[in-house]
């Protein structure tokens, strides 16, 4: 009896510890494989060269073009999702009748459950041709439509989490604002949003992290050309796309090619790891602010 209890507890603990092993595994895999890469290519070159052509005869190992591509699509996505998501959160919280909020919030969340290949298809076959009506110079693969569609995908991350944050602001503050003669608009922007700012910031950081790591949309619609540019109209390549591109060629183990995807992977991991941790600590720090 005693023993059985102990055994079960240990097994459960083992499952919990497995999660640590996963993290260790991720870091170990990324580090050990990219270690081989960095033996051939100095980190300095990796960070400062402006071209990424590790597969060509004239090899250049500057990660910056991939980082730029990732940054660009993320920027566009956030530029779409932040105003829309935050406005929706405020609208749902301050203006919409309760019943509407109850229905609209989960329906908005549907946006985040759609598989990302589907969004990629959408970007490539609907959004790009549509935008080409207005921007003739827009290439078929471009950061713009991929970014916009990614933005639509992450709207619910921002709207839902921000809405949670805003509705967690104590009623009494809202009462105070209205009691002073504020309009709902003023209440929202002068009181509620500032008071919920940490939660909103967390939602935005998580959304950024999601956009940085998003793969299929950019792999389908943003192109596969590493290029150090912030021009949203031409094909670019993100870190994730590069990994997919090389993977599609079925990488031979141990080759330089194989190692480059881990070097790209560790770069991606570092970005998202930082973002996730920042958001985690902000959340921790402000969680109990009001109670």
């Amino acid at each position: 009896m005693r023993i059985k209890e102990k055994v079960i507890e240990s097994m459960l603990a083992l499952a919990a510890i497995l999660t640590v092993l996963i993290t260790v595994g991720i870091i170990w895999v990324l580090v050990s494989e990219s270690f081989g890469f960095f033996q051939e290519v100095s980190i300095f070159r990796f960070l400062t060269e402006t071209e990424w052509t590790p597969l060509f005869a004239d090899k250049k190992f500057g990660i910056m073009p991939l980082v730029a591509g990732t940054f660009l699509t993320t920027l566009i996505a956030i530029a779409v999702a932040l105003p829309l998501g935050l406005t929706a959160a405020i609208y749902l919280n301050e203006y919409a009748p309760g019943r509407m909020r109850q229905i609209v919030k989960p329906v908005l969340e549907l946006l985040a459950t759609i598989p990302t290949v589907v969004y990629g298809f959408f970007a490539l076959t609907v959004v790009t041709p549509f935008l080409q009506n207005f921007i003739p110079a827009l290439a078929g693969f471009n950061a713009l439509s991929a970014g916009i569609v990614m933005g639509i995908m992450i709207i619910p991350m921002i709207s839902s989490l921000s809405e949670d944050a805003i509705s967690a602001v104590p009623r009494s503050l809202r009462d105070a604002a209205y009691g002073m003669g504020s309009t709902p608009f003023q209440t929202a922007f002068k009181v509620m949003v500032p008071a919920a700012s940490s939660g909103i910031v967390v939602s935005v950081i998580l959304a950024i992290s999601r956009a940085v790591g998003e793969t299929m949309i950019v792999a389908i619609a943003a192109g596969q050309q590493p290029r150090l540019t912030l021009n949203p109209l031409v094909p670019i390549e993100t870190i994730t796309t590069y990994i997919v591109q090389v993977s599609l060629g079925d990488v031979p183990h141990g080759s330089l090619e194989y190692k480059t995807i881990f070097a790209a992977g560790i770069t991606l991991f570092v970005f998202t790891f930082l973002l996730n941790n920042i958001s985690f600590w902000i959340r921790r720090k402000y969680q109990e602010k009001y109670d």
Binding site: D175, G179, M180, S182, K190
Partner: protein
């Protein structure tokens, strides 16, 4: 009706969905001075108080019948702008609720939202409101520190100062001292005593001694009905209604 009242409630009924919270109340509040609402928990004091600045407007399922007049004009008419009304009728809540901003910004909030941003004007308003709220001396050196760092009692006086800054004529107070320690509570009472020279004050309180001390008129509510309303002295010394008497002698509630 010959007399000029500040507020008049006429045959007021209020509902939260199906729940009948205020039952056919008629009541008139004199200009200047303090009117206290007393009654056991849940009897509708807060609900009734919040009718005077339409704070119940946004509550889902809330419904009002009857009229509330402010200076003889129905505040629930179509064309009344709620924000204008609330600038005239300030409100202080049970729990101090300063904004998570500096003391200065708390006080000038009401002015800023009216588009007043001149530094001079704001600074004057801050000084005079904080003085009126008897808080100036305690905070004048840390106006730009966070209001959340103040003690509960100071926070509550800050909320009063914030309400005064937009120069209302009425102050509604919903148990303004009940969340405070006895000393802070006494300070708030003192303050009310001073403010009543200039403002019409309506205060909800659980504390009958407090009602006795600060108010000129007292209304006693019981499950949504107005049981008795008269000069405070009269009500406490010779209540007409048996239920009032039971309540003030502590028989229930």
């Amino acid at each position: 009706m010959s007399k000029q009242y500040k507020f008049e409630a006429k045959e007021v009924n209020a509902y939260y969905g199906d729940f009948h919270a205020i039952k056919g109340i008629n009541l008139a509040v004199e200009e200047k001075g303090v009117t206290a609402f007393i009654g056991p928990s849940g009897c509708g004091k807060s609900t009734f108080l919040r009718l005077f600045n339409r704070m119940n407007d946004y509550i889902e399922g809330f419904r009002l019948e009857g009229k509330i007049l402010l200076d003889n004009k129905d505040i629930y008419r179509k064309k009344v702008q709620v924000d204008e009304l609330r600038k005239k009728v300030g409100m202080v809540f049970q729990k101090p609720n300063p904004f998570p901003k500096s003391i200065f910004e708390n006080v000038v909030y009401g002015l800023r939202i009216q588009g007043i941003n001149k530094k001079k004007v704001l600074e004057e308003a801050v000084e005079s409101s904080l003085k009126q709220a008897a808080l100036w001396d305690e905070v004048k050196d840390k106006l730009h520190k966070s209001a959340l760092a103040l003690s509960g009692g100071q926070q509550q006086r800050l909320c009063i100062a914030r309400a005064l800054a937009i120069e209302p004529t009425v102050l509604l107070m919903d148990e303004p001292a009940s969340a405070l320690d006895p000393i802070s509570s006494a300070k708030i009472e003192e303050l009310i005593y001073e403010l009543k020279e200039q403002y019409t004050i309506v205060i909800v309180t659980h504390n009958m001694q407090q009602a006795g001390r600060v108010s000129d008129y007292t209304a006693f509510f019981l499950s949504g009905e107005l049981v008795e309303y008269s000069k405070t002295k009269t009500l406490f010394t010779s209540p007409h209604d048996k239920r009032t008497q039971n309540y003030i002698t502590g028989r229930f509630g």
